[in-house]
């Protein structure tokens, strides 16, 4: 019934789901009060929008280069927050999109966020723009937006590839305050070099919970920390056992 070689993986998935569920319910009951450390990059987003307001220039947002994956969802959570800030400060927002499937979702959520903030007029046809499905054509389009509009803020959250350097350097050239977040290992170094703030790996995934302070989401983050401890313990124990010639934990993963 269960595919050969995936039994342990299934057990791990169920364990992770169970632990997350437990912490979510405990947080909702008020038995656990998760504390999230300060994440400078997320705090800086409001500063970037405020700075753009003072300068009378727009904010550019990119939800990354990939379709619907965990990183894109995390990026869209940040977009919701940026739109709220844009409405609060009356600052223009430009969202550039590379993946066609993400476009209608991003468009609708920005429209709704402006509507909820009581400023439906702030949503315009060109607030959310589909640029191109081609990687470098998208990069060229986004670079053009940064230069033409002299954006005062450039926020990039999601999956990025080689264009990360092009986007962040263009932002630096126009003097934009830049906040980036990605779990794409190869691009983190580029963002760290070129941006003012960078959310590294898992920091991007907690963005939605951190910004909303929603107890359900915070609960799942608490669960995530315990899962991380479990993985670390597994790794340390597995390494010690493997050094002693016992490969039980290593073999277990392929069962």
């Amino acid at each position: 019934m269960i595919k050969e070689g995936t039994r342990t993986l299934l057990a791990i998935v169920l364990l992770f789901a169970g632990v997350s569920y437990y912490f979510i319910t405990q947080t909702l009951k008020g038995k656990i009060k998760p504390y999230l450390r300060r994440i400078a990059g997320l705090d800086a987003i409001e500063e970037a929008v405020g700075r753009a307001t003072e300068m009378g220039r727009p904010i550019h947002f990119s939800p990354g280069m990939d379709g619907f994956c965990a990183e894109t969802f995390a990026g869209l959570s940040v977009l919701e927050y940026v739109t709220e800030l844009s409405a609060r400060y009356n600052t223009d927002l430009i969202v550039s999109i590379r993946v066609a499937t993400v476009f209608p979702v991003a468009q609708e959520m920005v429209r709704q966020a402006y509507l909820t903030a009581g400023k439906p007029d702030m949503f315009k046809e060109d607030t959310v723009r589909y640029l191109s499905g081609e990687q470098f054509a998208y990069a060229a389009g986004a670079m053009g937006i940064l230069h033409r509009y002299q954006c005062a803020g450039n926020i990039m959250m999601g999956v990025f590839y080689a264009e990360s350097m092009l986007l962040s350097e263009s932002g630096a050239q126009v003097g934009a305050m830049q906040v980036a977040g990605t779990a794409s290992l190869a691009q983190i170094a580029f963002f760290v070099a070129a941006c003012d703030y960078t959310l590294i790996g898992e920091e991007l995934y907690v963005a939605g919970a951190y910004l909303s302070q929603d107890p359900q989401r915070l609960g799942s983050i608490a669960g995530q920390e315990y899962l991380k401890m479990f993985v670390m313990a597994y790794l340390v124990l597995g390494s010690i056992l493997a050094t002693g010639g016992v490969n039980f934990l290593q073999d277990l993963l392929s069962k």
């Binding site: 595919k3 965990a70 959520m109 589909y130 092009l166 760290v192 939605g208 929603d214 799942s220």
Partner: protein, 209 residues
């Protein structure tokens, strides 16, 4: 219902994909979902193209600054679509195939190659800013970067034979350790985020519901 229906559909689709991952053979609902995904993606490209045409069409009609660029984009959008449709409608006609390939090889690829090449210059300017020894961390970064560069460049070995050894250690041990840590954290974070989407806890993408 604006909230419940999308959450229920996300949950259902996620569960179908999960079942497919853990059961032998192809799980029929997953195969069906994959077909839906292709059809829906095609529709989304249509919706996105309408946005492109409206924004650039308005630029051309209002003669905004740079309107000619928008006009070029619209012309190419129509031309490429037409040639593509003709190529697939009349596969026996060689002209459409050649034209489609030429469009790709001589119009799309060269600018993409240029964009890719620009990265080298941008890396230099970003490195110049990042490698200023403003703090202890930045100094460590600067020293590590110089050692790695010297270790990878042939001249480094001539200066000191240990540069390639230290460079390899920095890349294979120090760098890999950090990357693995980020990778494990990101993998767990990705899993829990996916779980939140499945359970409807991550609702940002549903647009203020």
């Amino acid at each position: 219902m604006r909230k419940e229906i999308p959450i229920a559909l996300s949950f259902l689709a996620g569960i179908i994909m999960l079942i497919d991952s853990f059961t032998p053979g192809n799980f029929a609902p997953r195969v069906e979902l994959s077909k839906w995904l292709i059809i829906m993606s095609a529709f989304m490209v249509g919706i996105a193209s309408v946005n492109l045409v409206r924004i650039h069409g308005a630029n051309v009609i209002s003669r905004r600054k740079g309107w000619f660029n928008s006009f070029s984009l619209l012309v190419m959008l129509v031309a490429f679509t037409y040639v593509g449709v003709m190529k697939y409608s009349y596969p026996e006609v060689e002209t459409w195939k050649v034209l489609f390939q030429n469009f790709y090889d001589y119009i799309m690829s060269p600018p993409a190659a240029v964009m890719y090449a620009i990265i080298a210059f941008y890396v230099s300017s970003a490195s110049y800013r990042a490698f200023k020894a403003r703090s202890v961390e930045a100094t460590v970064l600067l020293v590590a970067a110089v050692v790695v560069m010297l270790g990878k460049a042939p001249v480094g070995e001539l200066i000191w034979s240990k540069f390639p050894v230290i460079s390899s250690w920095l890349l294979n041990v120090a760098n890999t350790t950090g990357q693995r840590g980020i990778m494990i954290g990101a993998a767990i974070g990705g899993f829990v985020t996916s779980l939140r989407v499945l359970l409807g806890l991550e609702r940002g993408h549903l647009g203020g519901v």
